[in-house]
């Protein structure tokens, strides 16, 4: 009985496993294999084995190292701001209780919008000359001229500007997850702390945040991995520019592959990027998620 159960389970899992093997594992294998070759971008062109040369070229290139740091900075900014805003909104919805339910639904709407549309929309809001944000800040007397801040044209700040649509899109996700976590905090704990005279900050930092820790960890990891892969929003806003100041890893690999026609180098970059992400993923899955475990 035991063994046939196992076989049955295997039988149920096989189609999905085959699918992932053929359409994810095999392309990954191709990617890693390509990273050891110098490949002509022309179909049917020469293909020479070069060993680790593409990897040396990747690590020696300023573009690659720069993109690595920018990806880290971008991820840190996105996740931190989303967390702060999402937690604020989750606490607001919790303290307002049931009556705020309708607004919680409305707050969710950006999650359904395509990243490409969000990037386009914010580009339109931040663009020089006819962007609304510069104009509104100017009319409010904060800026002396509507184009004083070149949101998407100033290399010093563009990495933060391109993060805005991403933050706008997924703060809702952070808020939903944290809100659900807040609902599971035993109310008597809060009551007891209140009776002991705990004020709001102590309540938040001593009780709520420590109890939310597992939920916070999962939310940060899920969003962190997504943010590190950001592509659509940045591509449509700046295409990585100006002067590569908003070029993150996904964009660099895409451009190396398509624009500069160097699939070998792009594959090496992709492999390094993938290994870094898998490192994070394994760590996260092993320490936090543990799905399918026996309770």
């Amino acid at each position: 009985m035991r063994i046939s159960d196992r076989r049955f389970a295997l039988f149920l899992m096989t189609p999905a496993a085959l699918f992932l093997a053929v359409f994810v594992a095999y392309p990954l294998f191709r990617l890693v294999a390509d990273s050891f070759f110098k490949i002509s971008p022309i179909a049917g062109g020469p293909r020479d084995f070069v060993g680790l040369e593409n990897y040396f070229r990747a690590f020696a290139s300023e573009a690659f190292m720069g993109a690595g740091w920018r990806t880290l900075a971008y991820t840190a900014v996105v996740v931190t701001l989303e967390f702060a805003l999402g937690l604020g909104m989750a606490l607001l919805f919790t303290t307002l209780g049931r009556k705020s339910q309708v607004w919680r639904t409305v707050f969710m709407y950006p999650l359904m919008i395509a990243p490409i549309v969000a990037g386009l929309l914010w580009k339109f809001l931040m663009i020089d000359n006819f962007g609304l944000i510069g104009t509104v800040l100017h009319q409010a007397g904060i800026l002396s001229n509507p184009n004083q801040i070149g949101w998407l044209s100033d290399p010093d700040i563009v990495l933060f500007s391109v993060a805005i649509p991403d933050i706008w899109l997924t703060t809702s996700f952070m808020c939903l997850v944290l809100f659900a976590g807040l609902q599971n905090i035993p109310g008597d704990l809060i009551e007891a702390a209140r009776l002991d005279g705990a004020r709001a900050p102590a309540l938040l930092f001593r009780i709520i945040l420590p109890l939310l820790r597992p939920v916070i960890a999962v939310a940060l990891v899920v969003r962190g991995i997504d943010a590190a892969r950001a592509f659509d929003t940045i591509l449509i806003q700046t295409n990585g520019g100006p002067q590569s100041a908003s070029e993150t890893m996904s964009l660099l690999i895409y451009r190396t592959m398509i624009r500069f026609g160097d699939p070998g180098l792009a594959s090496a970059m992709g492999t390094i990027y993938l290994l870094a992400m898998l490192g994070v993923a394994f760590f996260a899955v092993a320490t936090i998620w543990r799905p399918g475990k026996d309770n």
Binding site: A9, V24, T95, L182, V215, A228, L235, L274, A281
Partner: protein
């Protein structure tokens, strides 16, 4: 036996979506008790505090909702007003010109059909593969199942840009270049791990006695899954379907890499407006609005289920 409709208004735990009235579930009862105490616990008491919080919420909602409203308003401006300096929030003159321009363009309507086709095929494929797999993982808890769900989750971390090109080459070599089938397979690599994860959580909430009773009554295991378990988790399947659909509908990078003329989806067309026709902001906003509004409405209709699906994996942890 159909109990999947009973979602909780506050969209809390996984169990809330699938577990029904007749199912013995201690965690659920416990959750409800805690929840009601919690309301008193964290809810603001004083009237003045509550008023202040409501004002804060109103401000946040206006700020958060404004960008999309601005997109809508802009789509009703005349093409010249769209890029007027300084910009105005409301159109000086309301017109459907941008919509006519955007939808009248070559390939735009076809791209909607491609998007819908791709998303539907990808959703069906995801469900057909994920439902049995998730059931096998959660019901039998074999070591291979544990390895498999880990592997499935790890594939979720793979950056699409890393597999996009090899995948496109593979599709081309079997004659599927530039087809909705090829793109929907690519999209399924994104939605399948997510679907397995979601469905596992839903199956977890179904008590084992249910299909044991069915097998005693002479049902085969496959029959029990099909006739007894699947109807119970139909709500969960709906949530998973919505997620798979959205993942495909909104996806851009694979679509960019794998489609040319025949199977181009709307996100690629929206992005192409930028280069191909100069900067036609009016048409872009109109097309973006037309593309986004159906899924936003769908969300509002099914919001409880979606909230539950979105939060369950994280909170269950």
């Amino acid at each position: 036996m159909r109990v999947a409709e009973r979602t909780r208004p506050d969209g809390g735990k996984a169990a809330a979506v699938t577990a029904g009235t007749s199912l013995p579930s201690t965690t659920q009862a416990g959750g409800r008790r805690r929840r009601s105490v919690n309301r008193e616990g964290l809810e603001a008491g004083k009237r003045s505090t509550r008023t202040l919080l409501w004002i804060l919420l109103a401000a946040a909602m206006v700020l958060y909702g404004f960008p999309f409203l601005y997109l809508l308003f802009t789509s009703f401006k005349t093409p010249i007003d769209t890029i007027a300096v300084p910009p105005t929030i409301l159109p000086k003159e309301w017109t459907l010109e941008n919509y006519a321009n955007a939808l009248g363009r070559n390939g735009v309507l076809a791209s909607f059909i491609n998007s819908a086709q791709t998303a539907v095929i990808s959703t069906v494929l995801s469900l057909v593969l994920a439902v049995p797999a998730a059931y096998g993982i959660t019901r039998y808890k074999t070591p291979s199942g544990r390895v498999f769900i880990m592997a499935a989750l790890v594939t979720r971390m793979v950056p699409p840009v890393a597999i996009g090109i090899p995948l496109a080459t593979m599709m081309a070599s079997v004659g599927l270049a530039d087809t909705p089938i090829a793109l929907s397979i690519a999209h399924t690599t994104i939605s399948l791990p997510l679907s397995i994860w979601l469905m596992s959580s839903f199956f977890e909430a179904v008590p084992r006695d249910l299909e044991e009773a069915a097998t005693v009554d002479g049902c085969s295991r496959l029959g029990a899954l099909w006739r007894v378990v699947i109807p119970v988790v139909s709500g969960g399947i709906a949530v998973t379907a919505i997620f798979a659909f959205l993942a495909s509908w909104n996806e851009f990078l694979f679509a960019l890499l794998m489609t040319a003329i025949r199977s181009q989806t709307t996100p690629v067309v929206i992005a192409n407006f930028q280069t191909q026709f100069g900067l036609d902001w009016g048409s872009m906003t109109a097309l973006a609005a037309v593309y986004s509004i159906p899924v936003i409405l769908l969300t509002l209709l099914l919001q409880r289920k979606i909230v539950a699906g979105m939060t369950l994996g994280a909170v269950k942890g």
